[in-house]
């Protein structure tokens, strides 16, 4: 019966591949890169493109990171995109209208006030997160509706504060530009992949990832999403922890708002438009389950990377970017299918 043994081992290999979300996502990344490289006459495969993918990744990753926590806990946060708009606008408003600063303040000189802007953005995000927590915990509104309300309110407030227009203030575009390793000629080999802002986003992602997978914060997040009754019965203060999760998601969205500010050099009321949907998509593609209890930070980071590989890849290959939504939809469907497969395998 060597034949059946052979089939079994192939099946096993396939199963273990599917069982390992991370390797599957890396595989998807590699396949996409090869396809885009082939169809773009090689232009896709350049440092510039990957640097840009990372710049996009940096804009969205914190929303996806926050969403991952929320989704693992069994909730959803639709307010993240509007929070980006609002916090970038509030940062701009404070610098321009309160402190009276202008776009003349540039470069290193702007760092002090930009640091302040980062704190203001995070604080703004925390306020949105706190309102979400109150709506969900105190008024007992389901997360979908609660965060839908703050989604609308934050978007509206961003428009009111900014008058609907970008508020241009102090900036340092070098923070969003890839840093090159000195001594290597960029014409020979371009080493400029990561901008300072992207590096900060990576660090924040790693830190939150460690708290999710190694610390009590994450354990409770999984426990609540897995079985909220069991979590409460084990003595976890479910409301308090849920509040923390939405606060973290809000703060991360606020920091993403600061990222948008630095990237555009202005606080724009439309800088977060539509971002929530991509954040949720990245989380699901990364393997999180909207039913709660399942999700990995690695998956989310790769899911986000895949989304923006698709965006840049389509542009580089010259395929109309209308295809982006279709490809994203396919990726989401595939991710859910993989999840179902894993469940079946797990049950065996």
């Amino acid at each position: 019966m060597t034949d059946s043994k052979q089939t079994l081992s192939v099946m096993d290999r396939a199963r273990s591949l599917v069982g390992n979300q991370t390797s599957l996502l890396i595989l998807v990344m590699i396949v996409l890169s090869i396809v885009f490289t082939a169809f773009s006459n090689g232009t896709f495969l350049s440092t510039g493109v990957f640097a840009n993918i990372l710049t996009d990744w940096g804009g969205y990753i914190l929303l996806a990171v926050g969403q991952t926590l929320v989704v693992i806990s069994g909730g959803i946060d639709l307010s993240v995109g509007s929070t980006v708009s609002l916090s970038s606008v509030v940062a701009g408003f404070v610098m321009v209208k309160v402190l009276g600063l202008t776009a003349e303040l540039k470069g290193v000189d702007a760092w002090g006030v930009l640091f302040l802007a980062a704190l203001i953005s995070i604080a703004t995000g925390l306020v949105v997160g706190a309102i979400n927590a109150v709506l969900i915990n105190v008024l007992k509104i389901v997360p979908f509706i609660a965060t839908l309300s703050t989604f609308g309110a934050a978007a509206g407030l961003a428009i009111i504060i900014s008058g609907g227009m970008p508020m241009q203030g102090p900036s340092d575009f070098s923070l969003i530009n890839p840093v090159r390793i000195p001594g290597i000629d960029p014409l020979v080999f371009d080493t400029g992949l990561f901008s300072p802002m992207v590096l900060i986003m990576i660090i924040v992602t790693i830190v939150v990832g460690l708290f999710l997978h190694k610390a009590r914060f994450g354990l409770y997040t999984y426990a609540i999403g897995s079985n909220a009754f069991a979590a409460r019965a084990a003595g976890i203060n479910v409301k308090k922890h849920t509040a923390k999760i939405y606060l973290v998601s809000g703060a991360l969205s606020g920091l993403a708002g600061f990222y948008a500010y630095v990237r555009l050099g202005s606080g724009s009321p439309s800088s977060g438009t539509g971002m929530e949907l991509y954040a949720i998509a990245a989380t699901v593609i990364g393997g999180a389950s909207l039913m709660g209890g399942i999700g990995r930070m690695w998956g989310t980071a790769l899911g986000t990377l895949i989304l923006f590989t698709v965006q840049s890849g389509l542009l580089m290959t010259g395929v109309a970017t209308d295809w982006k939504q279709i490809i994203v939809a396919i990726l989401i469907a595939a991710a859910v299918a993989v999840q179902t497969l894993q469940k079946k395998n797990g049950a065996r």
Partner: protein
């Protein structure tokens, strides 16, 4: 044999909307005693368990632990007071591992700053969880396996093991022999006896009346949210217990004789 009263319930009531689940129930649990709580489906046993464990706020009534009045607003308070509960519906988080479930709410942290930030001593907890469950006397699955991958009986074993290994005063077991084969059910009865020998108060709920008759010292019968009988186990036999639960008799033959 039985010691002091450790946990007392006075006149507890609880309704869910218009359903009266508990209607002025009172009982006393002594140290070193196994109390059987029986009643038909929907009699209110699990509701009483949740009031005792802090999972539900009662609408009225009082609780006394070691003679002092207590009020639970959260299961945490009851856990901290030494009361462990095995719930009828799953009290485990299926996506967590065995050891994560055993230590849920009572985690061990690594040393130093990281520990203060909440970083967990995973290896240590896995080893201790395995050790604790073994000590309780249950065949335990590997500590790092996800609960969702366990059989119903294995899950029940983990849940019982967790309750027993953490209990300091009282253990409440709501249908602990559910999902268990005959041999494993026998092991659970041994565990109950061991807990009693350690001086804990045990509340044992089961529809398997021979188990109740074998392991308990006293039986409390609930019917439609009311306690209709509270008597030493030796006064019951299988038939009288069934008759009492279903309400065909309201007094034990032995009581009639003694009148």
């Amino acid at each position: 044999m039985a010691g002091e009263v450790i946990y007392e319930v006075k006149n507890v009531s609880k309704r869910y909307g218009s359903v009266v689940a508990l209607d002025g129930a009172s009982l006393k649990l002594h140290a070193g005693e196994v109390l059987g709580l029986v009643g038909d489906n929907g009699a209110g046993k699990s509701t009483l368990v949740k009031v005792l464990s802090g999972a539900h706020d009662a609408d009225g009534g009082e609780l006394f632990l070691d003679g002092k009045e207590v009020r639970w607003h959260d299961p945490r308070q009851a856990l901290d007071a030494g009361i462990e509960t095995l719930y009828q519906e799953s009290g485990l988080a299926p996506h967590l591992t065995v050891s994560q479930n055993v230590f849920l709410g009572r985690e061990k942290f690594v040393k130093g700053l990281l520990g203060k930030l909440g970083f967990l001593a995973r290896k240590q907890m896995e080893e201790e969880a395995h050790h604790d469950l073994e000590a309780v006397g249950i065949a335990v699955p590997a500590s790092n396996r996800s609960v969702s991958q366990l059989s119903g009986g294995q899950r029940q074993a983990v849940a019982i093991g967790r309750a027993v290994s953490w209990a300091k005063k009282v253990i409440i077991l709501d249908e602990p022999t559910n999902h268990l084969g005959a041999r494993q059910a026998g092991e659970v009865l041994q565990i109950v006896k061991a807990a009693k020998a350690k001086g804990l108060g045990v509340i044992f709920i089961s529809h398997t009346l021979p188990h109740v008759l074998e392991v308990t010292d006293r039986v409390v019968v609930l019917r439609l949210g009311k306690i209709v009988k509270d008597a030493p186990t030796h006064l019951f036999d299988g038939d009288t217990l069934v008759a009492m639960i279903t309400g065909t008799i309201t007094e034990l033959p032995s009581e009639k004789k003694s009148q």
